[in-house]
């Protein structure tokens, strides 16, 4: 097993900074997913860990040993590539056995190990085939087998599922998760697919423009996103972000915009001398996940005067089978609402949307960082702190 430490790593290409001062501590047996959009630097970071790219600054440590200048072959790491990188001229058996041959292991041992790995990955019947004779899923398993046969300290995977069709991707996702649990090895896995990140990871590191936005468990990054970027990257559809202003009414805080009046469920805090806290009037982005919004027809909502809400008009409703996504025009923007089907909404309906205060998020309008406005039970993330507390 290997513990991998990334210490302030930066990688520049002429004028471009692909990875910008990233620090990560990946514990033994962790399944860390590097998540981010295309071009965010996640693959560059993985290749830097692998030793295929030298960092411009910073250090890579494996089990507290500085391997920044150690060749890739001496890092005890195995890698699975997006393209699988199988040797097209070698059979499946020789592809899997290649790392052992490179390490000068004897033929009998190679044969035994290859057979064991083939058994695990259900490749025993394909050992004499060449990569071109295999399906995408089989190729992917051979690439996994070649990594597995070495029994490395950690596995590095660069979008290994992206070339598979949706059905196979789901099945292989489960297989890889199962493999991780069985081996107990450290996995570092690059993907832009949030579903992979949420379902496979023990921790997720979200990257944006080469910088680390947040590291946490899948639950933490989903429930308490550290920035508006993380909030909008995770979730399908992503979190609704509504420009709003924090105001006070009847001694309570509200997020208010055109068509929006969401109670934040907290009293206006007072400073030590009893003056109202200056957080009122602050410009924020109000974040609400689509599944946390409840839609009712405006007429019905009017009867319940106690629940102020977002008000708008349904533009369109998407049918996802078990659920519906309603696109509702609120003020100048659009808010998406996710509900079990049938939600009873149709294009043109005027609706009121309710949200519970504990499901609202606030982000600073300028920096995009999360505003901590009540003690957060889940998050250990350092975030910008608005002087509003419960």
């Amino acid at each position: 097993m290997s513990r991998i430490t990334v210490r302030n790593v930066t990688r520049r290409y002429q004028d471009t900074t692909a990875v910008d001062g990233v620090s990560l501590d990946i514990a033994d047996g962790d399944f860390l997913v590097l998540l981010g959009p295309s071009g965010c630097g996640k693959s560059t970071l993985l290749r830097t860990i692998a030793g295929l790219i030298a960092p411009s600054e910073g250090q890579i440590l494996v089990d507290d040993r500085d391997v920044t200048d150690t060749p890739a072959r001496d890092r005890d790491l195995a890698m699975v590539f997006q393209s699988y990188a199988l040797y097209p001229h070698l059979t499946v058996a020789r592809n899997i056995g290649f790392p052992l041959r490179a390490k000068r292991r004897n033929r009998a041992e190679i044969r035994t190990r290859v057979a064991e790995v083939a058994q695990i990955l259900d490749l025993s019947a394909l050992l004499n085939r060449r990569p071109r004779e295999l399906s995408g899923g089989q190729r992917q398993r051979v690439a996994l087998g070649r990594a597995l046969v070495r029994d490395p300290g950690a596995f590095l995977m660069d979008e290994p599922l992206s070339n598979l069709d949706a059905q196979l991707r789901t099945a292989t996702r489960t297989e890889i998760t199962e493999l991780h649990r069985r081996l107990g090895r450290t996995f570092v896995y690059v993907t832009h697919d949030q579903v992979e990140a949420m379902t496979m990871a023990t921790s997720v590191a979200v990257l944006n423009k080469g910088r680390l936005e947040q590291v946490g468990t899948p639950t933490e990054v989903y429930d308490s996103p550290a920035s508006a970027f993380v909030a909008s990257f995770l979730g399908s559809p992503p979190m609704n972000l509504i420009p709003a202003e924090v105001t006070t009414r009847d001694g309570r805080l509200h997020a208010v915009a055109v068509g929006v009046d969401v109670p934040l469920g907290i009293d206006v805090p007072r400073s030590a001398d009893g003056e109202p806290d200056p957080s009122a009037g602050r410009e924020v982005q109000l974040g609400v996940r689509p599944e946390h919004l409840t839609a009712t027809h405006a007429d019905a909502a009017d009867d319940d005067a106690a629940v102020p809400a977002l008000r708008g008009k349904v533009r369109t409703v998407e049918n996802l089978g078990s659920e519906e996504i309603a696109h509702v025009i609120v003020g100048d923007g659009e808010v998406r609402v996710r509900a079990r089907r049938p939600a009873g909404l149709a294009a043109g309906d005027t609706v009121a949307l309710q949200v519970r205060p504990e499901h609202t998020h606030l982000f600073d309008r300028e920096s995009g960082r999360r505003l901590v406005w009540r003690p957060d039970q889940h998050s250990s993330i350092p975030a910008a702190r608005v002087p509003v507390t419960t």
Binding site: R73, A78, M79, A85, Y87, P88, F98, P99, A102, R146
Partner: protein, 325 residues
């Protein structure tokens, strides 16, 4: 006005339309009948092949049975030309020397360009591109100009090579007059042109290799030499086989220009080869029948060489890379 053309949508326009684009069933219909269309399109290629390949091949076969000096009427002589050819010591020597040329040129046309292409590929950058261009430069030189230049450079008395050798106290060999040197000189100046082209072809093949196979080999513990030996070279079996095959088939033709212009088959027939021998029979001795018989025999030999190369490369491909470690 009558005859001014059919309006769109009329029966007339529909009939006209079938001649142009968009027939009634939506297919694109050509101006030429659909049955004769494919023949019309392939006619230039077919006629060209007939005129320059197949008719001359048959004519050569027929000519090999004739006694004909290009001026007097031809006379049918059966297999007499073949009998004379097979009794000609010069023909056997030319065949033997053609084989020697192929054997000498095969590594120079494959292994050397392969090594150069890999070396340049492993060190990408501006210098690599400059070297590749320098290697390719002789390829664009006109063959005759190349041959004549070498004739001057290697002239035993006035050539710059011997002037330099004598200048540093070394004997200047008779590059083109000495039977032991002349064939080597012909091989050297011929491959000088081929190496650049083949290096470029191998470079193109190398660029098709998935770089992640190299990276994964690095991570898996292979040394640079092992990566070249077990990952890169086996992926180039096809281009190596193709260029090897081209060498076997065409070495005699590549050499022809240099033999004809630099040594004229001499000294003492030492640089003669099969193709120059055919030329000699036909245009020095005006013995068209024997030249045609030689061409038939050599074509048969080349076909056997082709089959042998296909057999060997097929086996290499089936065997895959040799076991490492």
């Amino acid at each position: 006005m009558a005859g001014a053309g059919a309006a769109p949508g009329t029966a007339q326009s529909a009939r006209d339309g079938r001649k142009g684009r968009g027939g009634r069933d939506g297919r694109v219909v050509t101006g030429i009948g659909t049955r004769s269309g494919p023949w019309a399109y392939s006619a230039p290629a077919i006629l060209s092949l007939l005129a320059w390949v197949y008719v001359p091949m048959v004519a050569t076969g027929v000519a090999s049975l004739l006694d004909w000096n290009l001026t007097t009427p031809a006379r049918f002589v059966g297999l007499a030309n073949y009998r004379r050819l097979l009794a000609d010591h010069d023909f056997y020597r030319a065949l033997w020397q053609t084989g020697s040329y192929v054997i000498m040129m095969l590594p120079l046309a494959t292994a050397v360009p392969l090594a150069l292409a890999i070396a340049l590929w492993l060190r990408p950058g501006r210098a690599s591109r400059v070297y590749r261009a320098l290697l390719f430069l002789p390829v664009v030189l006109a063959p005759a100009a190349n041959a004549v230049s070498w004739q001057f450079i290697l002239n035993p008395l006035q050539g710059v090579t011997n002037a330099v050798l004598v200048g540093v106290g070394l004997p200047g060999p008779g590059w083109l007059n000495d039977p032991s040197w002349a064939p080597l000189v012909i091989v050297a100046i011929t491959t000088g042109k081929i190496v650049g082209l083949n290096t470029l072809l191998f470079s193109a093949s190398l660029s098709a290799i998935d770089l992640s196979t190299i990276e994964v080999a690095r991570i898996d513990g292979a040394t640079s030499w092992e990566i070249v030996r077990y990952v890169v070279v086996p992926q180039l079996v096809r281009p190596v086989a193709l260029l090897g095959l081209l060498c076997v088939l065409l070495a005699g033709q590549w050499i022809f220009t240099n033999v004809a212009l630099v040594t004229q088959g001499g000294p003492d027939g030492s640089t003669d080869n099969a193709f120059y021998r055919i030329y000699t029979y036909a245009f020095t001795f005006f013995d068209t029948g024997t030249a045609a018989a030689a061409a038939v025999v050599i074509t048969g030999g080349v076909a056997i060489g082709y089959a042998a190369v296909r057999l060997v490369t097929g086996r290499i491909r089936r065997a895959g890379a040799p076991a490492a470690g």
